[in-house]
């Protein structure tokens, strides 16, 4: 005869085993690029999806406000940034988290009607996840950039690259993403700050179909050059793949596994499988990092973006051992201790992913399945590799670094799970 607490423990173990099974058996495939309006029929005029847990205009940080104003001009809802800000202030836009619409977005994470989105199908569960196309480096909307050059690039993505990628992908059978990531991990990618291997592998896979389907050679050269010169092109795809893997596990009764971690530049939020779509939030932390010339920690915005979905599936900071240089961002950290970060994340996860292994760790799999009980028990919080935006709107990226998820989110979630399961 089991005691009540043994029964709860047994239920959690079974639920977590099912959660892990679904995560590991996921089969994410890049199948298309379509306008967001087509991918997400619930998207309406005046609706803006953003990164992180829910937030209103009044509480948004500088770069997030800059991006909201910029995307409103891009969509033709305002004639200039000043008018866009007034409209936002008056509540004219409906602001919602990407996560509620099967989507994710890096940094500010703007998703609106006309932007093209990558469509990832999880063929094990049949669900789809979406993410916009990575804009490249420099002044870009994901880091709060919103000037004419930023909007012009978004226009080119919408009118040229997005449709062309859609045609090229529909001409093929889709691109299986798990083997691509597995290979990237052996090439120095951790899929958050480092995506050079996977971006190159993706380009080499896409290029023949693009060449077959794009008639204009100048346009084709421009597209190949755009993808080829962006070391982070794969990031958005890694994010959509993460969302496609995690959505089918987002509501398993009794499961204590984290299904989403995300930040809006003000708050950090997590979701837990056994607690469905409820957010558990705490103030977001400042990344520790290195800065581009002309910028310092004084310019930095707190942590931001849905990109932490990659850590949620065992990549990014959890796969630091695959990209040892990134450990250099942390205080006294050096590449030779990168494996320690990955091993430490093993303390708060339930398993290793045997399909995503790291040669430098003797082919151990990436730590997978963050258990809120282990986070609270050990006090070890997920480590996240991230870019750093300027805290003022319109400027862009100022550096890169590493940040920790706040413990309070996990404590709140654990209390809620205990209440749900009748544990006092």
């Amino acid at each position: 005869m089991m005691t009540r607490s043994e029964k709860v423990g047994s239920n959690i173990r079974k639920a977590n085993a099912e959660t892990i099974r679904r995560i590991l058996e996921a089969k994410p495939v890049l199948i298309d690029v379509v306008p967001a309006s087509e991918a997400i029929p619930a998207l309406q005029e005046g609706m803006i999806l953003h990164a992180g847990p829910p937030i209103d205009w009044g509480n948004m940080c500088g770069p997030m406000r800059g991006a909201v104003a910029g995307i409103a001009v891009f969509e033709g809802w305002a004639t200039d940034l000043a008018e866009a800000e007034q409209l936002a202030e008056s509540g004219a836009f409906s602001l919602n988290p990407n996560h509620d619409f099967g989507a994710v977005g890096p940094m500010t994470g703007m998703t609106t009607l006309s932007q093209p989105v990558l469509v990832v199908e999880n063929r094990a569960s049949g669900n789809h996840a979406f993410c916009t196309i990575n804009e490249g480096l420099g002044k870009v909307m994901r880091f709060g950039g919103n000037d004419a050059s930023v909007l012009k690039r978004l226009g080119w993505l919408r009118d040229t690259l997005g449709p062309a990628l859609g045609v090229a992908l529909r001409a093929g059978k889709g691109i299986e993403l798990k083997p691509l990531v597995a290979r990237g991990l052996t090439m120095g990618d951790e899929m958050h700050q480092r995506n050079l291997g996977c971006s190159s592998l993706l380009l080499r896979t896409l290029a023949p179909d693009l060449a077959r389907t794009v008639d204009d050679r100048t346009a084709l050269a421009e597209m190949l050059s755009f993808i080829g010169s962006n070391d982070q092109f794969f990031l958005n795809l890694a994010m959509a793949l993460g969302k496609a893997i995690m959505d089918p596990v987002c509501d398993i009764e009794c499961s204590s596994v984290v299904t989403a971690m995300t930040r809006n530049g003000t708050d950090f939020g997590i979701r837990v499988s056994g607690l469905g779509d409820e957010w558990f939030t705490a103030p977001v932390e400042m990344p520790e990092g290195l800065y581009f010339p002309g910028f310092s920690a004084d310019d930095a915005n707190p942590d931001m973006g849905d990109s932490t979905i990659v850590e949620t599936i065992g990549l990014g900071g959890f796969a630091m051992a695959a990209a040892p240089a990134v450990a250099g961002f942390v205080g006294v950290g050096t590449p030779s201790i990168a494996a320690d970060f990955t091993r430490t994340m093993g303390e708060i996860t339930l398993t290793q992913n045997p399909e995503w292994t790291i040669p430098a760790l003797d082919y151990q799999g990436v730590p997978t399945g963050i258990d809120i009980r282990l986070v609270v028990e050990t006090g070890i919080t997920p480590i996240i590799n991230t870019g750093i935006a300027h805290r003022k709107p319109g400027i862009g990226q100022v550096g890169a670094g590493v940040v920790k998820a706040p413990l309070a989110c996990f404590e709140l979630a654990l209390k809620a799970l205990a209440t749900r399961l009748g544990v006092r």
């Binding site: 490249g136 480096l137 420099g138 290195l290 240089a325 250099g328 050096t334 590449p335 201790i337």
Partner: protein, 120 residues
């Protein structure tokens, strides 16, 4: 009047994180206003330009080149900072090169590391 000094090393590549670490240590030197070591990609050239670190001749640099850029209070400080940057580039190790042994924080992971341990 500040002095901007650049040196373009053709065909030299080093990881951006170690370059940022070297940049930070050069920036801390006496008389240096700002400094950066960057690969000459278009977006990096923009960053250097915006930070008032890019000499006119360096605009021709490409993604295959490494740019050493210093802005200092005078020519002597700039030359000395550039020399220091070159020394660090010659031996870019960040100090700690030993291997570490991570100690497990819980019995669960200790047992993962040593599955044959004689634990009940």
């Amino acid at each position: 009047m500040s002095k901007i000094v650049n040196r373009v090393c053709a065909g030299l590549f080093l990881d951006s994180v170690i370059l940022m670490q070297i940049s930070r240590s050069i920036t801390l030197l006496e008389g240096v206003e700002d400094a950066a070591l960057m690969i000459g990609t278009p977006s990096n050239l923009d960053l250097l330009d915006n930070a008032k670190l890019l000499a006119r001749a360096s605009r021709k640099a490409t993604g295959g080149d490494l740019i050493l850029a210093v802005r200092a209070k005078d020519e002597t400080a700039a030359a000395s900072a550039l020399a220091k940057a070159e020394i660090l580039l010659e031996r870019p190790t960040v100090g700690h090169t030993g291997t570490t042994t991570l100690r497990p924080r819980t019995l669960r992971s200790a047992q993962d590391i040593l599955p044959t341990a004689n634990l009940p």
